[in-house]
Symmetry: C2
Subunit: 670 residues, 2 copies
């Protein structure tokens, strides 16, 4: 009873290719994502380009030695051909099409497991590869392209590419792009609940995000799996290209070298190359972490932190001496975040050098504390690195500052504590000041500001700290809008706030934390959870010791838009479907971020006996090698104000964000 859709010729070719796979159901593991057939084309089928955007081409022909796809005795076809046709034009050989030298054949092997059974049996499948690469190309004419890889005596892999017709009239002078890493609408709803007073079902104040002019949803999935990581999703947001987990601005090829994968140009690189405006990168994470890195870096492996900081300073051509990548971030005007370990001379820094010095040599002012940040002028390129590893969380900085002690995380590397760390708002407002001052007339500026630890705290199931980070982001957006209005730049600035993926968090009720802690069995403790009418009202918006039904409006020490108290007797009860074994007691973790599970050498991750000692145990749903929560599927919200922001309404793919921003800046060139 199944009917096959009326297929285009291309799809039929894919079908033919697929039949080669036969009964292989490789899924948990794939031979190579984005390459279901034995001939691989990167950029893959369905890629959309901004006119003139730079990218590499990678072609591979696979010959599995063993396994269900074993082919040609493991000898890959080296005589494959590759041609490109524009619209209905002839299919022209790649070297001729782009007027470049014919690429040499490269060869390598890799291995993978076909499924979990093969992994358990340690039966790997070996694949021999013949490949070519063409570097730093572009397509300028809008329209449809058909690229064909012919191999194995008649097999064809077709990639249909589209160059979108670009907007050529610039709408926005500046772009302020906020990412709440891992931020979902259920989290925004929970943040509203704890930070804004509701009387009789009516909120007396709202999140800044609630008040933005335009609302959209974006789909976050990867190119080859339906759950993404932050490298992959940032690549989509910044380049308009879906990629694979852990990849930064490259399509993942099968070679071991994580720096030879085919690259694509980012919105930051385009902004620098086309317009030359001021560029800023702000994050509360390690500054070499995926979301900030993805503005400038190109690597298959997001873990290559040295590559990332090298690319901030020198762009990709420095990392890949084998060929020239003729674009780059060209020394961003502002770089603020954590991750001093990649700058302090030692094993974490590029070539072991003092990378603060390298930045200083290039003309950067370097700052390490909130005090120095606020005191810094606005004329210099500025590198602000405020801690080893990720920066302190809003709750610890503002509510539990004792937790900043004993961390030995000074960004100077002297082993003292990084006590005087700025928050996202401090960093963002200073970045705006510097970018505004350094932007030449009409060039404008582009700033990416990331609330990174919404994600990091959701990973460790520290819901309170995650919501603290989210509220800091909201406060930062609010303060940025006010500053832009004050400085007369608001009407020229496109502001976009979105996330890169979700975590399956939601609030499902209230909890009497006192009662919960005092019960002696897991099942009795669960009786402290109140659902529906027994969820009650938010205990976070009333003064300590006061009833949640108290309708007085008061503010805590951190002012409006934050909870009045963080550890009320009647707390929200929340959780997610995916976690390691854990315990829940629904109160604020006082000693710093939670660590729900620990890895036992024999049995994998088990409940951390020190976490939530008064809570009830919940068995996990994740593989026992996962000690944290994981990302989830759900679409994330997009909020936008300013010129070009109407384009962010509705439901679309994450890659469309790149095109919408590029169109607001008129970055495409035919």
């Amino acid at each position: 009873m199944r009917s096959t859709q009326s297929l285009s010729a291309t799809t039929v070719l894919f079908t033919l290719g697929s039949t080669l796979i036969g009964t292989v159901s490789a899924q948990t593991f794939q031979r190579l994502g984005t390459c279901p057939t034995l001939g691989c084309v990167f950029p893959p089928d369905q890629t959309h380009f901004l006119a003139g955007q730079l990218f590499d081409v990678r072609l591979e022909v696979h010959a599995p030695v063993n396994g269900s796809e074993a082919s040609n005795k493991g000898v890959p076809d080296e005589k494959f051909t590759f041609c490109i046709a524009h619209e209905r034009g002839p299919c022209v050989d790649a070297a001729k099409f782009w007027e470049v030298k014919e690429a040499p054949i490269e060869k390598w092997s890799f291995s993978y497991f076909e499924d979990l059974y093969a992994k358990d049996a340690k039966q790997s499948t070996v694949v021999n590869v013949a490949a070519k690469a063409y570097r730093a190309l572009s397509l300028k004419k809008p329209g449809d392209y058909t690229a064909k890889l012919k191999y194995n005596n008649g097999a064809t892999t077709v990639a249909r590419w589209v160059v979108r017709k670009p907007n050529t009239r610039r709408k926005a002078k500046n772009v302020l792009f906020f990412i709440g890493d891992g931020m979902t609408q259920p989290m925004i709803t929970a943040a509203r609940l704890i930070a804004h007073k509701s009387i009789n079902g009516v909120y007396q104040s709202l999140m800044q995000l609630d008040q933005m002019d335009n609302l959209g949803h974006q789909m976050t999935h990867s190119i080859d799996s339906f759950i993404t990581d932050s490298a992959n999703s940032a690549t989509a947001l910044y380049t308009g290209k879906k990629s694979s987990v852990n990849a930064l601005n490259v399509w993942a090829d099968s070679s071991k070298n994580s720096h030879d994968d085919p690259k694509v140009e980012t919105i930051a690189e385009l902004f620098r190359r086309r317009i030359g405006g001021a560029l800023g990168i702000v994050s509360t994470a390690v500054i070499a972490d995926a979301t900030p890195a993805a503005l400038c870096a190109h690597t298959r492996d997001r873990g290559q932190a040295q590559t990332v900081v090298t690319e901030y300073l020198h762009s990709a051509e420095f990392v890949n001496s084998t060929y020239k990548w003729p674009t780059g971030c060209k020394q961003p005007d502002v770089i603020f975040g954590g991750g001093a370990e990649n700058f302090i001379a030692g094993k974490g820094s590029p070539n072991g050098t003092d990378y603060y010095k390298e930045f200083q040599k290039a003309g950067y002012k370097v700052v390490h504390t909130k005090k120095d940040l606020l005191a810094a002028g606005k004329k210099d390129k500025t590198l602000g690195i405020f801690s080893v590893s990720n920066m302190a969380k809003w709750i610890d900085r503002n509510i539990l500052p004792e937790n900043l002690k004993g961390q030995k995380n000074s960004p100077t590397g002297d082993g003292t504590d990084a006590i005087d760390q700025p928050g996202l708002k401090d960093m963002t407002l200073k970045a705006l000041e510097i970018l505004t001052a350094r932007s030449k007339k009409n060039e404008g500026w582009f700033l990416m500001s990331e609330a990174a630890s919404i994600d990091k705290m959701m990973h460790v199931l520290d819901y309170d700290r995650a919501l603290g980070e989210l509220l800091e982001l909201d406060d930062t957006v609010r303060a940025s809008i006010a500053w832009l209005k004050k400085t007369g730049q608001y009407d020229d600035t496109l502001i976009v706030v979105t996330a890169d993926h979700g975590h399956g968090f939601d609030v499902f009720g209230g909890a009497d934390t006192k009662y919960l802690a005092e019960q002696t069995s897991d099942r009795a403790k669960r009786g402290a959870v109140g659902v529906y009418q027994n969820s009650g009202l938010s205990g976070y918006t009333v003064a300590e010791g006061s009833s949640p039904t108290n309708q007085t409006i008061v503010y805590g020490a951190q002012g409006p838009n934050f909870p009045v108290q963080w550890n009320p007797r009647y707390a929200y009860a929340a959780g997610m479907g995916a976690s390691p074994d854990r315990r829940e007691q629904f109160d604020l973790e006082l000693g710093g971020p939670r660590l729900p599970a620990i890895n036992d050498p024999t049995s994998g991750n088990i409940v951390n006996p020190k976490d939530n000692p008064n809570g009830f145990s919940v068995s996990g749903t994740l593989p026992i090698d996962e000690g944290q929560g994981v990302h989830s599927l759900q679409d994330v919200s997009v909020f936008a104000n300013g010129p070009g922001s109407e384009a962010f309404r509705g439901v679309y793919n994450s890659i469309d964000i790149f095109f919408k921003i590029a169109d607001a800046l008129a970055l495409g060139r035919t």
Copy 2:
């Protein structure tokens, strides 16, 4: 370090009231929701009205006999006064303000527990009450009103009411209002994943919901708790008034009688009273269930099914002989759904009468099968009741029809099986046909169509069946738009699709269900879950036995927009943070809807030994008296097309939906 906001006089008065409560932290249980002081005003503070909308007023003065609020030796003040001021006008005594007779004093008592400790100790608090009610009033002048209840020698409870300035130019002739009960954006994302083919990260087709013209978010919380149920949330959507869990179009007072609580007029009643157009109600649930019931019924207790069906036929005045409620649904033109038990003569029907006959007497055509539904003409008022209890699920009707056998749920009550049940699309399209035919020129029609079992299947953690219902809703929206275009009504019809609340569901990876089933320990089974890159691609959009990486586009027997297969080896792995003890194996439940937990007389709800026998166990997070999943906090999406639909953009409260629809229909009258 806490600062008190500059408070309005009213808020200060509330503060004074609140101080009476002292250290009471009543939260899991409240004395009376929406009444934190000892004087209660309904409509409560912060109520917004459509100009001319009918409502009752209820006043109560509480005197707790014992407990932390014990007052006046348990004797409530019967000499309370109540006045209303418009804008800066004088505060006029209620009877005079509305020119009605002074209401008599009513008296009763009730009891409650102050918290879980009191409940465990069985120490209830008794409250004596003096009360009054004024019935069927309205406010016609837009602006601010201040209502003051004075009691206990100087205490005052103030309610600020707002009559919104209504739109008076009608934009939409017809309204088609869809509710996906419990439907969240994470569910929509999951439904897209299983029903639409993605190639290299690009969806080749989309949900109808993805393609709607306008996107918004609404907040779903209750008036007195942050989690809602469907009665309460439907009340907000249909009346613009937040209420309490289980309440249908009334504010919950403290009296035992569930029919004397203060009522408010619904959008359906207003549409009938103001315009007289055709009215339709469609649901896949029991037709007396909360979401359909809330169009017409008024009761504190959504469980009063006989009241609901009585109000469909006779409106509220029939139920409350003590006073006249001078508005009502006045016999909707279309009523389609399940719940035959409230019509078949017997204990479930009003007064034990044959309620099918009562409807027939009132001129209704009555149908009981899909065949008869499709064959029914379009001229008669039509009652279609297609099963006892809730209707069969899309998956069982379409994929596993054997599950319809042995249910003995024939709507005729003859003990046979209801095999020939229509789906939401069948019912909605027939409803549109009848409403169009019965609508007089310019009057137009209003149809509410509910996909009820998204919620019901999420409650039992049957994610597949819930997504089947969601996809059926999407298909129904698509088909309805096509039908409206075909009949030339599309440009006159406001279409809104939303939900009433969420469940904390999300997809967090893939699962090799074969591998999972074959492992022998819970911890080994969890190794079948693939996260991030190992989540892979959707196994639901390829032919059975084919790899998820197969890029061929094929359709299943149910056509596009539904999965090609429902039970692939590589399934999605999903769940939620709130559940009873359960087991998960991530494949399709073949024997009909899941029942994850069963109630053990001594230990409460435990894993149902028959559910997911090959799965791994997950301990629950809910009180052990909960055998199902529960509703969650997250904002839900709103999608809208047609005249007036631009108003549905952005973020707002659920009550605003009522005002947006009322404005599109110009139902307000000053």
